[in-house]
Symmetry: C2
């Protein structure tokens, strides 16, 4: 194919989009802002939004029968104060197989990242490309050391090189997002354990497992480090539930860390940081029927992920990075600008993709595509093919 | 009346209640925990919970027609990320008449208190009795200086004495909850302005107006310091919406402070700290029809408050402290223990009152009664009368 050219209208939209992005900092503008800019209210596909839509359906099925069909219960959740942090962690304890004293509940994983970086990190190695709050939330006198993952190795962590880097960095902390955002590369458990064992002297090892539910092949269990983490007092597991359960607007997440760290956080704040619907969600994690149904939709989604990635590999002019997450990183290798590509996909098909040009550590024309439901994935593939066949 | 005596069963409940309270820190156990302990699932009255129940009704009327009757809108709120902090503050700007750069959105006022104390306070004067997070969230090397308000003056702030105390305290910050929790005393605007004018040299003056909507007499407007606060770069207005709008489970609050302080907070976190229903609520504050209806229920409730306090004054053996909030502080003056009184009210009538014995600065047998709807208030008054006529 030839290099993609934008129309004049699209160039105008591109300039407006750039200024909207600038106002949103290093994160994507909200879907509502994008809809507004492109004047799209129907047939809009948010392929920037990372979630399992089948899990969203499942949550709404339960919400409907538990709360919407029972308005007094719904009112109870929104009228009264939710339980405090340590009460909600008791509820999660059985599901996680971790003592409640080691569980910290957050208003989304972002709040936990902020709390952990402020309280337990001084100088931290962050692997790039990464999820930007891991360096943005670091304030003086704390500092960040970037470790550039190797594009030639598909951004897969080179364990020995990384261990040497950490050793030389004089850092007291490290962050591993597993699978990593935005490339989806997975560190297997043996390697992860090796990194942790070799860094027992560090103050803090953050392992962000926000995408771990997507890391298994269809039909298999996912391999969380949560239970093993309790052997190591410096390890903190951070878990968003926005992605796997597809309910970002509920704002819920949790972390597993040493009991003294949980106490330190909850004794100085974070008392009522869950809302009523987040508490309802945490209650669902004690509901065996919900968990059984969730496992079905998790598998269903992971099958689509595998098949979507296989189809992407058929399109010429794109390099597809292997992903064990619910998104896939692609690189445009035919000279097309990634921003132009995103604008054209938005204007011509109403598909919103995450452009990678603001991600430090990503040098090239990168785009991150969120994997959605089957119909949407097919629509995205068709649109990608059409633009590339122009 | 004679001193209240508990039955043996009530003594057992009292011991369980004490241990539940101990596990909950300095805050009330959740209503769900209390229900469980006393085996009450019906006719339970939470007169510990501070809200305007008519405002809760109003919120649910809007929620029903805007979101529950329109499931795709509801799903949108819970599935997608809500807008970021600075987008939601744009929405509030018109309602508050304050530039959006000065508005910080919080996941409930508690999160804001935590953020403000950690970032903008070193040594703070806190007037007692108070809302405990104002001293609990202070960590070394920051410190608290307590200013004891005078019980003989109904805990009303003695302005000149307070100004001298602040001056002598070497504090760099002060906190004024107005009206104050747990006594409901109000500092009028002229006095508040005097305090602020005389303390321009301080780093931070926190004015918590979480109860200000209740401070006006029926039919009158309430007198917030929000707009005047922008004249003073050191003033921070903190506002919960849990109380006046009766939706604690939604977790929403805001603060007004200098634009540089808002930037400092939002550039290091607090990105997605609102949930989808909190954003929906903030949108309602731009809805003139909602605000008009709210003004009606705010007045309706304030009329009940005045009448409830007048009725309480008829009961002998209790001292009633004047309140301009949605609760009233009473003192048992006939030798009855406040904890025994709370247990008896729970066991005999299913009414849960806030015992004051864990509040520093409250020395005596104090109970805080939340004012509820008309029927509930009458039930509470009848129960109080019966226990006192034993």
């Amino acid at each position: 194919m030839s290099v993609l050219m934008l129309t004049d209208i699209e160039i105008g939209l591109k300039n407006k989009f750039i200024s909207l992005k600038a106002r949103s900092g290093s994160h994507s503008p909200s879907v509502f802002q994008i809809l507004n800019l492109f004047g799209r209210t129907d047939k809009f596909v948010d392929a920037c939004f990372l979630s399992n839509p089948y899990a969203t359906d499942l949550f709404f099925k339960y919400l409907e029968s538990d709360l919407i069909s029972n308005r007094s219960k719904l009112r109870e959740k929104l009228e009264y104060y939710p339980s405090q942090n340590n009460e909600i962690s008791s509820k999660l304890s059985k599901h996680l197989g971790v003592d409640k004293s080691r569980i910290f509940i957050g208003n989304g994983a972002t709040e936990i990242i902020q709390a952990v970086l402020i309280n337990f990190v001084n100088r931290v190695v962050v692997n790039i490309p990464t999820f930007s709050p891991y360096y943005e939330f670091i304030n003086e006198p704390s500092s960040v050391v970037f470790y550039q993952m190797n594009q030639n190795e598909d951004f897969h962590l080179n364990i020995e090189e990384y261990l040497r880097f950490v050793n030389d960095s004089k850092a007291d902390s490290i962050v591993l997002i597993n699978p990593n955002n935005p490339d989806g590369s997975l560190i297997n458990k043996a390697d992860l354990r090796k990194i942790v064992e070799r860094n027992k002297h560090l103050k803090t090892i953050i392992i962000d497992e926000s995408f771990i539910h997507f890391s298994s092949d269809p039909g298999e269990k996912f391999d969380s480090f949560a239970n093993e983490s309790i052997e190591f007092s410096n390890v903190i597991i951070i878990k968003s539930i926005s992605k796997d359960f597809g309910i970002a607007g509920v704002r819920a997440g949790y972390a597993i860390m040493s009991d003294s760290r949980v106490s330190m956080l909850t004794s100085n704040g974070y008392l009522w940081n869950s809302n009523g619907l987040a508490e309802y969600f945490f209650d669902l994690l004690s509901n065996d029927e919900f968990l059984r149904e969730y496992e079905v939709v998790r598998n269903k989604y992971n099958i689509l992920r595998t098949s979507f990635i296989n189809s992407l590999r058929q399109i010429k002019g794109i390099r597809v990075y292997p992903s064990k997450a619910n998104f896939v990183l692609i690189e445009l290798t035919n000279g097309t600008s990634s921003l132009d590509f995103v604008i054209a996909m938005l204007n011509r098909f109403g598909i919103y993709l995450r452009v990678g040009n603001d991600k430090i550590g990503l040098n090239g024309e990168f785009i991150r595509i969120a994997i959605r439901d089957m119909t949407t994935n097919e629509f995205i593939l068709k649109a990608l093919g059409e633009i590339y066949d122009d």
